[in-house]
Assembly symmetry: none
Homo-oligomer: 208 residues x 4
């Protein structure tokens, strides 16, 4: 069996086991067995448990990013791009729950090296959103540019909301039909909020 195929099987098995058990509780024995290979072969190809986990994170992160980018038409207007990006995000996480669990739940909680890797992924998502927000503001003729820190905060809020909805919507029935609705809910929530910001309408504590 060629190495590439074997390696993919191993990563598939590892993602499944890491998602189910967590990094520490996952055992190389179980991963090797699920991959249908012997443990020494796993070590020959992937060197160590740490390297294996890193490889999982990298592969799943690339796949997620690629899925989001593939569903966005770079020439479309900002709202369309946001809408399609969200749909791609929800579709991919719903189709690959183990990979999403590794990225979202496991990777951040098991030591710096992994957290950094997943933080880099997250930053790429945040960057995309940040660009959308900025463009939206500019395109809408925002009287004064939004402060940088606020834009970053908004981007984090939006990504967090998307992550939360992904988890919520995947945990319910009829996931397939839900994905579109989930995206719509978030879009309604976010887009109108962004529009208002763009127009300078704000909520202020003093108003209450």
């Amino acid at each position: 069996m060629p190495r590439e195929v074997r390696e993919r099987q191993m990563l598939d098995a590892a993602v499944a086991v890491f998602a189910r058990r967590g990094y520490r509780a996952a055992s190389m024995d179980e991963i090797a067995e699920l991959a249908g290979a012997s443990k020494p072969l796993v070590y020959l190809y992937l060197h160590s448990k740490e390297d294996l986990f890193s490889a999982c994170i990298r592969r799943e992160a690339e796949a997620l990013i690629a899925a989001v980018q593939a569903s966005v038409d770079p020439g479309a207007p900002a709202d369309r791009r946001l809408w399609n990006g969200l749909r791609g995000f929800f579709a991919h996480t719903a189709a690959h729950p183990d990979g999403w669990a590794v990225l979202h739940c496991q990777a951040r909680t098991h030591g710096e090296p992994f957290a950094l890797e997943v933080a880099a992924l997250r930053q790429r998502l945040v960057d995309v959103v940040t660009r959308l927000i900025t463009e939206t503001a500019e395109a809408g003729g925002c009287p004064e540019p939004l402060p940088e820190v606020e834009v970053a905060g908004l981007a984090h809020a939006l990504v967090g909301a998307a992550e939360s909805l992904a988890g919520w919507s995947n945990g319910r029935d009829g996931a397939a039909s839900c994905e579109r609705q989930t995206a719509e809910t978030l879009m309604n929530f976010a887009w109108t909020g962004l529009e208002n910001l763009r127009n300078g309408r704000r909520w202020a504590p003093a108003r209450a």
Copy 2:
């Protein structure tokens, strides 16, 4: 030393170690040492690693809920309550990063019993937000009531956004001064979005 004091020290130590290392990687040795007690005493008082972790989750969850509730004036209007609740949430998570890490990052990823416990906490937060959204819609004279599933989705999105911002803002410098600003960013984002929804203004994919 009286038992209560010792027990609190143990929980403090456990929260710190669980936050830093994760559930599986945390060792009872390290927890006992940090608590300044011997391992058998930890077992005598808290029975097992699982029970200890459960106790941590419960204590931190109660503390967080209490902090949020304490910062909300039940007689105030909906927007004011949301604003104060968010501020309480961000302030408490910023002041107790270890507790927040245990709740947000660790508890959900290490087996059903813990996940259920933290899901219950999250549900309580979501419920509060759900009520706020409904009241806001009613108070604002919403032409037709928002569909239930959409309200739930919005609540999850809002809680997810808050969670995400808590993690982001705590990871930056000057956390104290940031807390207010973080709350303001999210409030601007969310409140105006909610207002628009209330008024029936929506984003629709067909529009693009």
Copy 3:
């Protein structure tokens, strides 16, 4: 509460727990709890687990010996004495199964010191039987005295048979009514065998 009473409660509890769990698996915690006293008090009175176990063995051994002796009339003929001794033995072991379990099952299997103590008890039983056999042989006009080693072997066989029957008969229903029958079975088996030996009738391998 006076010391003697407390000490008896402790020994009762210890015998019960040792019988149920074995020496090593029995925990001083369980014994103390069952005795209704605190652990330090147990240590104050009985010094250590080893001492406690020794005390149990000694008490139960004395009780068993006393019960057997009390049921034998020293003036009666040999067969009558054997008969009454067996009945006393079966009655006492049936009435005190925990004590018998400690003596028969536990004491011999947990290190030299205890084995010696219980071996001493057993030797006293064997001695009684040995005397009976010798007297029986003499009284019956045995042509030549039985070899010493054979008498010892017979005594051990008889005691072993009695022990085995005690375990068997106690494990069956209607123990009370059984006790007499058990004694009769063994008596029939043993006494007639002894009579034949006394008369020089033997089985020889060459005969077959």
Copy 4:
């Protein structure tokens, strides 16, 4: 080193240590060291202390039964078969004192699962003896068949006597030369007793 060899070494070591220390006091460390292997290997092959103990019991029980059966010629008359069976029993227990100690002293005192296993062995021995007694009675023209419960009692008594003698004779010097004599003593005691029973001669308490 092939697995089978290693496993046998482990069982040998385990039998020796269990016999010397008892189930609870035996440590897996000591067993592994005596077997010349590392502890993880013992666990890999034999799974747990409980399984290891079970495996010891089973192996030693099979060996004992096999030894007894191998020394009996099924075509020989009843007394000859009893004689040879006893010799086989005494010879095997003398040659394998550790195995006998595990079966006789340890297995019955450490929890139901083990006790059941050893009870099954004992029942097989009792069954053999029961058959012998019945056949003897029939062959000898016993006027009326012995009551079933009495036969069972006799069988238990005989097995108990044999067990007791095995322990006694092994604890003395010159075991090799003793084995035959031990068997002879028991045979003399038992066979003549059985003969008398067969002929209806009984001891009765009223006689005294």
